[in-house]
């Protein structure tokens, strides 16, 4: 590892001045001559077929320029399109109108008559699984299990298929008779390892509990507004996306053009949290309307529209039977999940939920079963910690209950089950082996947290009551996949002596878009002032880049840029050796020069080396690039040829294991037993997230991610009326995102800063693991305060708490979703 001067230190991101002055331009901040505005006609029904659209009245209105319907969009092989002729949820866009202003577009929408034939619909997944229950789609009610590709199969995998599954009355007949346990009928997906029955036999305590993890809207502050125009046959799209380089392919597919004809501009993204992973399918609307109207088109998405098309967390109802030894070790885990994929998908949260449960609790034996149900509710997408966060929700109340029954400390029971080192998780792969992680230091994180949080002192007052306020403490481990491999980097050292790093990462506030240049600069001993990061516009020639989702970016792109910088370094050394004699290995880097070891005077400045690279051409200035880089990278490199010395490489560093990060959350709450109100008093997160690249941003990720989990424990929700299939919680005061006054005014966060051994920079991702930690820790703290059986759903709002305390048992509807 090179001297890490920049990695591990704070810095001012180069975009920050633009942000604090309001000059940062997000998608809706762009204007173009003759720009039209579009408004959407949304489905009023949860499931219907468009029979006829009368556009005459709308077209006759002044200022109306074009109307776009689903018929104008390319077929996506059954996948979600930006507009539909068969709306599958209330709020799904049916058509869009472009007009000279929003008032005209809105009036034109009102002048449209759509004849809809209603179709059966369902809001709650269990209702769809009941005998005779409605199906969300005409083709079925569940997603079939994905099929492994046939041996020797070529081309893309087949599109996901729906299936029809109904459970029996017997499946719904609750063995306990109180309707509080999730029925477990036929599951379409299943895996297991170990001897489950032996595990339960060996257990001293077996618990069987159900938990309902709610859905919530992602609701980034910036909605998915977009503006589009065409120039010389190319689409210029100002969109809001988490990823930049990796968004182009999707846009091209949605619009029906080749990726080479897409220029995506997104220098600033107002948040995504998984809802804008590879952009938004709705961006096809301004793109195609612009083509049709032959004018730029702005699509301003309202907050209510964002409630419909803006994506939501995959809600999950889980039932777990868990066996514990006397000392708390989990011997067996039988996990059953009913996942609600909404109207589209299929979502895979259920799989990552199962993997996460197997990872953080390290059961001796485990079975995972799941069914992935379609409902006529707004589309889901991965939301910050998709799956692992649900695992925390489903599992943590059980582990806490076991700790209470076994007389164990909450930390102790997590510690005895915690993953360690190259911990194994999940089911066996095709090679018969169960996968393992690159590294895990969860026990160290638990120990650190006990010390920093003052766990023992807080434990002494937990359960104590002062007036109507009772205290409780909780801890939980949030895991998440935290890094991918195999992406590319391009950087150039130019005759001005500066290092230009092409960054294809989205700028959604994590700063990974700039962080990735720091290890590159370290390798090249380049001062940060001489580093220019080029980002936010695919017209600026970006390398093949991972999606900025799944906490993978920091890991993936520090590796790729480490590789690219090593390539640039080697070229500097080779040029020096060519010009000044000796072998490349005789040269080292420093003071913006490449020089003979021990003789700093004998060398070239980076500026000189850049000029020489251009003169030499070939691989030195990008005329030829390594064979193994992606075609996207080759195309971009070709456009940067001759600008300077080019470092271009694919990340081929070995990696033993899959990269995961872990965050441990510690929470203390105060519950008012007279009002049911829960107040979070204190919170600490401890990150086992590898080498720290950007300390200040890392702490912000830990705190921000924790807050999302805290919000899910305390207040955030969404609500759909089951009778009409209509989203009721369309407004913030209905769906209740966390405010600044819902958390203590200081959050604590710390990181172990232990490098991951399987990546050259040592860094792992951090965005997601805090979410499950926050969710689980707060749920556990509430349970600690008022009893481990007080609730089995989230958010744990005043009504749930108060009714439980009032009646001495849970009173909330046990199995219903979307409340």
């Amino acid at each position: 590892m090179p001297d890490a001067k920049l990695v591990g230190t704070n810095y001012l991101p180069p975009d920050h001045i633009a942000k604090v002055t309001g000059r940062a331009k997000y998608a809706e901040d762009f204007r173009a001559d003759g720009m039209l505005f579009t408004k959407l006609l949304l489905s009023p029904m949860p499931h219907a077929r468009v029979l006829y659209i009368d556009k005459e009245g709308a077209l006759a209105l002044p200022g109306v320029k074009a109307i776009l319907t689903a018929d104008d969009l390319p077929d996506l092989n059954g996948a979600e399109k930006a507009l539909t002729n068969e709306p599958l949820y209330v709020g799904e866009p049916i058509l869009a109108i472009a007009a000279v202003d929003e008032a005209s577009a809105a009036a034109a929408i009102e002048a449209i008559h759509v004849d809809l034939a209603p179709l059966p619909f369902v809001v709650d997944p269990l209702d769809s699984l009941r005998p005779g229950g409605p199906n969300a789609r005409r083709g079925g009610n569940v997603w079939a299990a994905p099929q492994p590709p046939a041996p020797g199969a070529q081309g893309p995998p087949p599109p996901p298929a729906t299936d029809l599954v109904k459970w029996t009355e017997a499946d719904f007949a609750d063995d306990e008779g109180d309707g509080t346990r999730l029925p477990m009928g036929r599951a379409l997906e299943e895996w297991s390892f170990g001897d489950l029955e032996a595990g339960f036999t060996d257990a001293d305590l077996v618990l069987d509990e159900t938990f309902i993890v709610q859905s919530t809207g992602h609701h980034p502050m910036e909605t998915r507004s977009a503006m589009a125009y065409w120039q010389n046959g190319k689409l210029y799209l100002h969109a809001s996306t988490q990823s930049v380089a990796a968004t182009v392919a999707g846009v091209a597919r949605w619009v029906g053009i080749t990726p080479a004809d897409v220029v995506l501009i997104c220098e600033f993204t107002g948040g995504g949290f998984g809802s804008k992973g590879a952009g938004a399918v709705s961006s096809a609307i301004p793109a195609l309307l612009s083509k049709k109207a032959n004018a730029p088109v702005m699509m301003r998405i309202s907050r209510e529209e964002e409630s419909y098309i803006g994506r939501a967390r995959t809600n999950m109802s889980g039932r777990a039977r868990v066996g514990f030894t006397k000392d708390g070790k989990i011997t067996a885990l039988d996990l059953f999940l009913v996942q609600d994929s909404g109207a589209y998908g299929p979502m895979g949260d259920h799989r990552s939920c199962g993997n996460a449960a197997s990872l953080i609790y390290q059961p001796g034996a485990m079975r995972w079963r799941a069914i992935n149900v379609l409902t006529n509710t707004p589309p889901r997408s991965q939301q910050r910690s998709p799956g692992p966060m649900q695992a925390d929700g489903i599992m943590e109340p059980i582990v806490t209950k076991a700790a209470k029954q076994l007389g164990l400390d909450q930390v102790a029971i997590r510690r005895i089950n915690a993953p360690e080192g190259k911990a194994i998780y999940g089911p066996a792969g095709p090679n018969g082996m169960r996968p393992h992680v690159t590294s895990a230091f969860v026990k160290e994180a638990l120990d650190r947290g006990v010390e920093v949080f003052g766990w023992e002192a807080r434990k002494a007052r937990s359960g104590q009551r002062r007036g109507p306020k009772v205290r409780g403490i909780g801890v939980a481990v949030g895991p998440h996949g935290a890094g991918s491999v195999g992406f590319d980097s391009i950087m150039t050292i130019r005759p001005d002596g500066k290092l230009y790093v092409q960054s294809g990462v989205g700028n959604l506030g994590t700063h990974s878009v700039f962080d990735l240049a720091r290890p590159a600069a370290d390798v090249l001993a380049m001062p940060w002032e001489k580093v220019e990061v080029i980002w936010g516009n695919t017209g600026k020639h970006l390398p093949n880049t991972c999606l900025s989702v799944g906490s993978q970016t920091t890991h993936a792109m520090t590796r790729a840029n480490h590789a690219g910088a090593m390539d640039a370094k080697r070229k500097l050394q080779e040029i020096a050796a060519l010009d000044l004699g000796g072998s490349p290995d005789d040269y080292e880097l420093g003071n913006e020069r490449v020089y003979r070891r021990g003789n700093p005077g004998r060398g070239l400045s980076y500026a000189q080396a850049a000029k020489r690279a251009i003169e030499l051409g070939g691989r030195f200035d990008g005329h030829s690039v390594p064979e193994d880089v992606h075609q996207i990278t080759k195309t971009s490199a070709a456009a940067l040829v001759g600008l300077g010395l080019m470092g271009v490489a694919k990340d081929t560093f070995p990696r033993d294991g899959n990269t995961f990060s872990f965050v441990v959350g510690f929470a203390e709450v105060e519950v008012d037993v007279e009002t049911g109100k829960v107040t979070l008093v204190d919170y600490l997160s401890v990150g086992d997230v590898g080498k720290v690249v950007n300390p200040r941003s890392l702490m912000a990720q830990l705190n921000g991610g924790s807050c999302l989990g805290i919000a899910h424990a305390l207040c955030q929700k969404w609500v759909i009326d089951p009778q009409y299939g209509v989203t009721l919680a369309r407004r913030f005061h209905y769906n209740k995102p966390l405010t600044i006054l819902d958390i203590p005014n200081h959050l604590q966060a710390t990181a172990l800063d232990l490098p991951d051994p399987e990546t050259p920079v040592g860094a792992r991702g951090v965005g997601e693991p805090p979410v499950g930690a926050g969710y689980g820790a707060v749920l556990n703290a509430i349970a600690d305060a008022i009893g481990v059986d007080a609730f089995r759903r989230a958010p744990v709002t005043a009504d749930i708490v108060l009714m439980s305390l009032e009646h001495g048992r849970r009173m909330h509807e046990p199995l219903r979703t979307h409340l």
Binding site: N10, L12, P13, H16, K19, V20, T21, G22, A24, K25, Y26, E28, D29, R31, M45, L61, P62, A103, A106, A107, E110, L116, A117, P118, L119, P120, N135, R138, H219, P220, M221, E222, F268, G270, G271, R303, L508, G509, T510, R696, S697, A700, N703, G704, C707, L708, A711, Q723, R731, F732, H733, P737, L738, T739, I740, L741, I743, N745, L747, A749
Partner: protein, 204 residues
């Protein structure tokens, strides 16, 4: 599976205790058409002068136009963000006569003869950042920063009333602003740094 007919759907709805108008509300009867009726006697005139960031700006404003839309679409001041357009998130916060308001929920016609300051108006004429902006810069407050202009304007407005707040008081002062990155902890740290700088600036 056969699609159910509209008639059946409506029947179901009626049987469930609703009426056909539950569908009808979504396809409501004709309403007022767009456009702008000519000003009636005693009504406001469209062409008005606004005082924005210390400049007098002449602008043609529809009667129903909100200040946020005027700023963003007529005056080119896109630093003021629309997060919800419903007075719930604070991204559009501007100062009107030094007081923070949700500009999405202010009719532009109501701010004639009042002083509007947006994020673009905080820098000094010589281009120096406002102390609160400097605090945010130095502490790297905010992540995606879409909410940042609104938060900064709320803080600047709050400091005019309470120039020396505690961290908790400041949290209350800016509590009308949402951050979905939920970077609240660092936002408070950054804005408290801005408080410190503001105090320093006013003492100087």
């Amino acid at each position: 599976m056969d699609p159910v007919t509209r008639r059946n759907f409506i029947k179901t709805v009626i049987a469930a205790g609703a009426t056909a108008s539950s569908v009808g509300y979504l396809f409501r009867g004709p309403g007022a058409l767009l456009g702008q009726t000519p000003s009636a006697p005693g009504a406001v005139e469209r062409l008005i002068t606004l005082n924005v960031n210390g400049q007098m700006r002449r602008v043609d404003v529809m009667k129903q136009e909100t200040l946020a839309m005027t700023l963003r679409y007529k005056l080119g001041l896109t630093g003021t963000k629309l997060g919800c357009d419903r007075a719930e998130c604070g991204a559009c916060t501007v100062l009107i006569d030094d007081v923070p308001h949700y500009s999405c929920s202010v009719l532009t016609h109501t701010v004639r003869s009042r002083a509007v300051v947006t994020i673009e108006g905080l820098e000094s004429p010589t281009g120096e950042l406002h102390p609160v902006q400097r605090g945010v810069l130095d502490e790297q407050g905010f992540q995606c920063a879409f909410c940042m202009p609104g938060f900064i304007m709320s803080a600047v407005g709050f400091l005019k009333v309470n120039p020396n707040p505690t961290r908790q008081e400041l949290a209350h002062g800016i509590s009308g602003n949402l951050c979905r990155c939920q970077d609240y902890d660092k936002i408070l740290t950054a804005l408290m740094k801005g408080v410190e700088y503001t105090r320093g600036a006013s003492n100087a």
